[in-house]
């Protein structure tokens, strides 16, 4: 039994990590993680609603 990790996953936008449990050449379990967070939702608090799109469109 071995656990492998592919990080970074390339050719995507964003940062992704995939871990897989390999058992006899077969993947028996897998986990994915987004490895970057900015908290853009928190930046929306108390902001002029008219300008929210300018930030959110840059996610």
């Amino acid at each position: 039994m071995a656990k492998i990790a592919i990080d970074p996953i390339t050719r995507i936008e964003g940062h992704l990590r995939i871990e897989a449990q390999v058992d006899g050449g077969k993947v028996t379990d897998a986990w994915s993680s987004g490895t970057m967070w900015r908290g853009i939702e928190l930046m929306m608090k108390n902001r002029d609603p008219r300008e929210v799109w300018t930030l959110l469109s840059r996610v």
């Binding site: 990080d7 996953i9 050719r11 002029d48 008219r50």
Partner: protein, 365 residues
């Protein structure tokens, strides 16, 4: 694109361009355009041509941290004749998460190889902010924090180009309340040689020009106090704006879709930050010189200015003052002065009041 094979085979820039079918004529055109972007007289063109003909393609690694890949998009969308080829062929791009073939440990090996084998010679391009809070856990690649990677990769580079506002000063990631303690690469890794090329996204032509300047003259272009090249950020948008005559004439858009908006009048009243923003958008523009925000009818949001999301007031609220360029006056004084000079007392009163934000009268002709 075979990124790994390029490590072994690194021809001169001129050879690479020839291989791509870029004609001599287009090459000279490109060099002339770069000279213009750099605000250099045309007498520098031969020097640029010579440098690009002789120099080997510099190795480049592109790091992405807290980003949206908007700067990568901006780079890949370069459409001016031959620019797309030039951006991809003038440089030897060895590592770029969004476009490279290898993944996982193979990707990381490509990066490690450049850092080891080209130590002190490669160019590091950084896109995205670096989070410092909580030990940097908010951005990790291959199990390492962005900060850890930046320290190694930027610390061993000949120079670092921080492309886009996020890597320049924190950008979106650092907007209030900056949940992850995001900063630009210059702040995260003190002591490195770097250029900030902010903008949301960065303008690929300024990035190319900076690289060509470095190849031609062996040094960074002149920088301002925010570490931005003066050729790109030395002039105020307001002073080069195609709508400036309307500002001077007191002709303002006051409501989206009103007659002034349809006629392309000044967007100052709608919150335009052009009077406080320094960028060469009016001359370089975007999408192969097609347009730029103000031309498209939207106010400038000062995307390349430090902390633009929080320090310039709400995007759609007008600036209180119009600073700089030998005078310090509010727009009402300017509008009033010009109109009064035209000896039209009644019109002056109307324009002056309108600019002060008093109840709107009616759309003017």
């Amino acid at each position: 694109m075979n990124l790994v094979s390029k490590l072994k085979d690194n021809p001169s820039i001129a050879d690479a361009l020839k291989k791509q079918g870029v004609s001599r004529r287009d090459f000279i055109k490109f060099c002339t355009m770069i000279a213009a972007t750099l605000s250099l007289p045309s007498s520098f063109v031969p020097q640029i041509v010579e440098a690009l003909e002789k120099k080997l393609k510099p190795y480049v690694v592109w790091l992405e941290f807290q980003d949206c890949a908007g700067d990568s998009e901006s780079m890949l969308r370069a459409t001016k004749p031959t620019i797309a080829e030039i951006v991809l062929d003038v440089i030897s791009l060895e590592y770029h998460e969004t476009i490279m073939a290898g993944a996982g440990k193979y990707a990381e090996k490509a990066l490690a190889d450049v850092v080891k084998n080209q130590k002190g010679k490669y160019i590091a391009i950084v896109e995205g902010a670096i989070p410092l809070k909580d030990g940097g856990v908010y951005c990790t690649i291959g199990g390492r924090t962005a900060l850890d990677i930046a320290k190694e990769v930027c610390g061993n580079a000949a120079m670092t180009l921080a492309v886009g506002s996020c890597s320049s000063w924190g950008g979106i990631a650092s907007a209030n309340p900056n949940p992850t303690g995001a900063v630009g690469v210059g702040k995260a890794v003190p002591g490195i040689t770097y250029v900030n090329l902010p903008g949301c996204p960065m303008n690929v032509e300024n990035v190319t020009a900076t690289i060509v300047h470095y190849l031609t003259f062996g040094k960074l272009p002149a920088l301002d106090n925010e570490h931005r090249p003066l050729f790109a950020h030395g002039k105020r948008i307001h002073d080069n704006c195609e709508r400036r005559p309307h500002f001077d004439a007191g002709q303002f858009v006051r409501k989206w879709g009103d007659e002034g908006h349809r006629r392309g009048w000044c967007l100052y009243e709608m919150g335009c930050k052009g009077p406080e923003a320094h960028f060469n958008c009016p001359s370089i523009r975007w999408n192969a010189g097609t347009s730029w925000p103000i031309q498209a009818g939207h106010p400038c949001i000062a995307c390349a200015s430090t902390d633009n999301w929080d320090k310039f007031g709400p995007i759609y609220s007008r600036l209180q003052n119009v600073p700089g360029a030998g005078y310090q006056a509010t727009a009402d004084k300017i509008g009033l002065g010009i109109a009064a000079a035209a000896a039209a007392g009644v019109a002056a009163h109307a324009i002056g009041s309108a600019v002060k934000g008093k109840p709107e009268k009616k759309d003017e002709k």
